[in-house]
């Protein structure tokens, strides 16, 4: 008998269906609903190579009982008949005989005693749960492992193992690999992401607590209860899960702060946080009555600045020379800028810290989720001289409707703060005799960002392309830009 909602007694069960990417921004109430209903009814989960299924338990005289025919039915052909107070069941060429109200049972030629009496109710033979491993191993002829406390029973070599390790990228990710496809329900609460495996034969790891060398995702734990297993990832930031490898891999990525979980939004009239995932609807409602001051929002901020090395992966950007791609130059400058900002006490998130693909929408979503005070996009060009600093050119349309903010015009309320930051950086650059221009530009994701945002287009000072890769020039530009950001800090902390 396949796993079905009928088998689950029709209780509510969270299912996320086919989408491979789940942004687990589920409110706590849905999680409580999910797990509180599970705990209301005692259940037994059975895992085998034939089927995985769950059954409700019944309590009689202080003992948990299970209907034996329901246990055997999914595992193969089974027949049963009642003769007076005797109940006989035949499955897989084995025959068992039970007597109502008695402990003695015969399976094949061997007899043994159950821990409590066999019950016959309306033709249904019921056996004590604790006796099930012994009964099944004799009827099926297979080894049976029973996790009695969590009521999870494994027949034969059924089982799914998993390994977990943190991959250290610009945004740390916990990669969990399973030996078979999985489809857990996922829920989050502040600092935790829960993966609930109700119909996977997930086996416990060597240690129930896994620790990682990561500040963002320091640990994960495994526990079993009421016929299900659960992996809980603990993080210092909101997290979301991504499925890959035909659902054999779950990657838990930490976002510094997700939009849905913060109650802090920009002041009235300012754009709300934009969509938290790529491809998501661009408009997001802001709960009424949750307007808070910018200072409160910054108080919850983990990173003051987000630095974005443009392009990357398959997208090389401009060809600055025969062998020099814009994506490599931007990454070098972005790393330098991060270092210079952090050396001045500015917490900085580098969106791309390797040669990876990152779409414009992903950059916008990750930035908006981080709630920084300033976003710096880094570009490079061969035509100079010096540096051009861009703020967003807001497109036509993009009207906000009540609490919904247009994705394309999310920057509208922050243009003033962005221009002030651009001016501050420009002053510092001029002080260093670096040629600089400030302009508006139709450049994404600037207009999608819900914070002050500027983009730098760094050109060689004298038209010599090799200067773009010069450590001296990179450090000069980075330190000067960082100084400009520091000078604009008070303005940025004031909000839009």
């Amino acid at each position: 008998m396949p796993w079905s909602s009928d088998r689950l007694g029709g209780r509510p069960r969270e299912s996320f269906g086919l989408p491979l990417v789940l942004v687990a921004v589920v409110v706590l109430s849905s999680r409580l609903l999910l797990f509180s209903t599970s705990s209301d009814e005692k259940r037994l989960s059975i895992y085998s190579t034939v089927a995985n299924y769950s059954l409700p338990l019944s309590e009689r005289n202080g003992q948990d009982y299970v209907v034996l025919l329901e246990v055997l039915d999914p595992l193969g052909t089974v027949t049963a008949k009642t003769e007076g107070n005797r109940w006989k069941v035949r499955s897989n060429d084995s025959e068992a005989e039970f007597i109502a109200g008695k402990k003695r049972v015969h399976i094949g030629r061997k007899g043994f005693d159950l821990p409590a009496n066999f019950l016959l109710e309306n033709g249904h033979g019921m056996v004590p749960l604790s006796s099930l491993p012994q009964i099944l191993s004799r009827i099926l002829g297979s080894p049976v492992t029973f996790h009695e406390n969590s009521r999870r029973l494994f027949i034969g070599n059924a089982g799914v193992h998993f390994t977990a390790q943190v991959r250290k990228l610009s945004n740390p990710a916990l990669v969990i690999n399973f030996t078979a496809p999985v489809n857990p329900s996922i829920a989050t609460e502040p600092g935790k992401l829960h993966m609930h495996f109700s119909h996977e034969a997930l086996l416990p790891p060597a240690s129930p607590v896994l620790t990682f060398d990561s500040k963002t995702i320091p640990s994960a734990s495994y526990e079993e209860s009421n016929g299900a297993a659960e992996i809980t990832v603990t993080g210092n930031a909101p997290m979301f899960a991504t499925f890959s490898d035909d659902r054999k891999t779950i990657t838990v990525t930490a976002a510094p702060q997700t939009a849905a979980q913060t109650q802090s939004v920009p002041a009235a009239g300012a754009p709300a946080t934009a969509a938290a995932s790529s491809g998501a609807a661009p408009l997001r409602p802001v709960p009424s009555g949750t307007v808070s001051s910018a200072a409160t929002a910054f108080g919850q901020r983990q990173y003051f600045a987000v630095v974005d090395a443009s392009h990357g992966g398959d997208e090389r950007g401009a060809a600055l020379g025969d062998q020099l791609a814009e994506k490599d130059v931007t990454l070098a400058f972005a790393r330098q800028i991060r270092q210079q900002l952090e050396s001045r006490g500015i917490t900085t998130l580098l969106l791309r810290d390797g040669d990876i693909n990152l779409s414009i929408d992903q950059r916008a979503s990750q930035t908006n989720s981080a709630h920084p005070a300033i976003y710096l996009g880094v570009h490079a060009a061969s035509q100079g001289p010096g540096i051009r600093i861009y703020t967003a050119l807001i497109p036509a349309g993009g009207e906000s409707h009540g609490p919904f903010i247009a994705w394309d015009a999310a920057q509208a309320a922050f243009v003033s703060a962005s221009q002030a930051t651009a001016a501050s950086v420009a002053v510092e650059l001029r002080n260093k005799q670096i040629s600089v221009r400030t302009l508006a530009a139709p450049l994404r994701p600037l207009n999608n960002l819900n914070t002050a945002a500027i983009a730098l287009e760094i050109a060689p000072p004298g038209g010599k392309i090799s200067d773009l890769t010069s450590p001296d020039y990179q450090q000069l530009v980075a330190s000067t830009v960082a100084a400009g950001i520091v000078n604009a800090r008070a303005r940025l902390e004031a909000g839009p």
Binding site: Q383, P395, P442, E457
Partner: protein
């Protein structure tokens, strides 16, 4: 002996045949003329006739600026055709060997559609976008040049959308956003910024 009636009938038939032949020959000529007029490929930009003064916003890469440039070009009567001719004149400058803002060979403005109220859709060809140099400023100069030239000479345009081969494209060459509708008022301000190198 041929009767007089038979001879008269034969002459009438001959006259009718000649008349029909002439008519068919005449109609074939008319049909060919109409087909030629309906074929859009045969339409060539006017190379002569009355000219009008217009202002083209021309990008200069050396200084990274956009400068208004008065020019006299022949323009047709139709509003949409005028818009197309304006941009083709602008591209003529960019495709010239002494271009201040070179575009790739084969770059064309396929069509300009004017949709009331206030929307202009510029459809450039893929050669234009595919061969365009990549960079924020260089792409921005192209976009601002097209939008500003159009809006400065065709009254009533408030928004501009740029398509490539009739389809939406993310960016011109990796930077300038083509998914949006350009607000002419905002581009006016940008054009003012772009007129100075500092």
């Amino acid at each position: 002996m041929i009767s007089r009636h038979l001879l008269f009938g034969a002459l009438v038939m001959l006259a009718i045949s000649l008349g029909m032949g002439f008519y068919v020959w005449h109609m074939r000529g008319v049909s060919g003329t109409e087909f030629g007029e309906a074929n859009p490929q045969s339409v060539a930009p006017p190379v002569s006739g009355p000219t009008e003064q217009v202002v083209l916003y021309v990008a200069y890469d050396d200084a990274g600026v956009l400068r208004p440039q008065a020019s006299r070009i022949p323009l047709p009567e139709g509003r949409q055709q005028r818009a197309e001719e304006l941009l083709r004149a602008l591209l003529g400058l960019y495709l010239d060997k002494s271009s201040p803002h070179p575009l790739g060979t084969g770059s064309e403005v396929r069509n300009v559609y004017l949709v009331d109220p206030g929307l202009a859709v510029i459809d450039i060809n893929s050669a234009f976008a595919n061969s365009h140099r990549s960079g924020i400023l260089v792409e921005e100069l192209t976009v601002a040049s097209l939008v500003q030239t159009l809006s400065a000479n065709i009254p009533g345009i408030t928004r501009v959308k740029i398509l490539v081969d009739g389809k939406e494209r993310d960016t011109l060459a990796g930077h300038a956003d083509l998914t949006r509708f350009y607000d002419v008022a905002a581009v006016n301000q940008l054009a003012a910024q772009l007129q100075t190198a500092q």
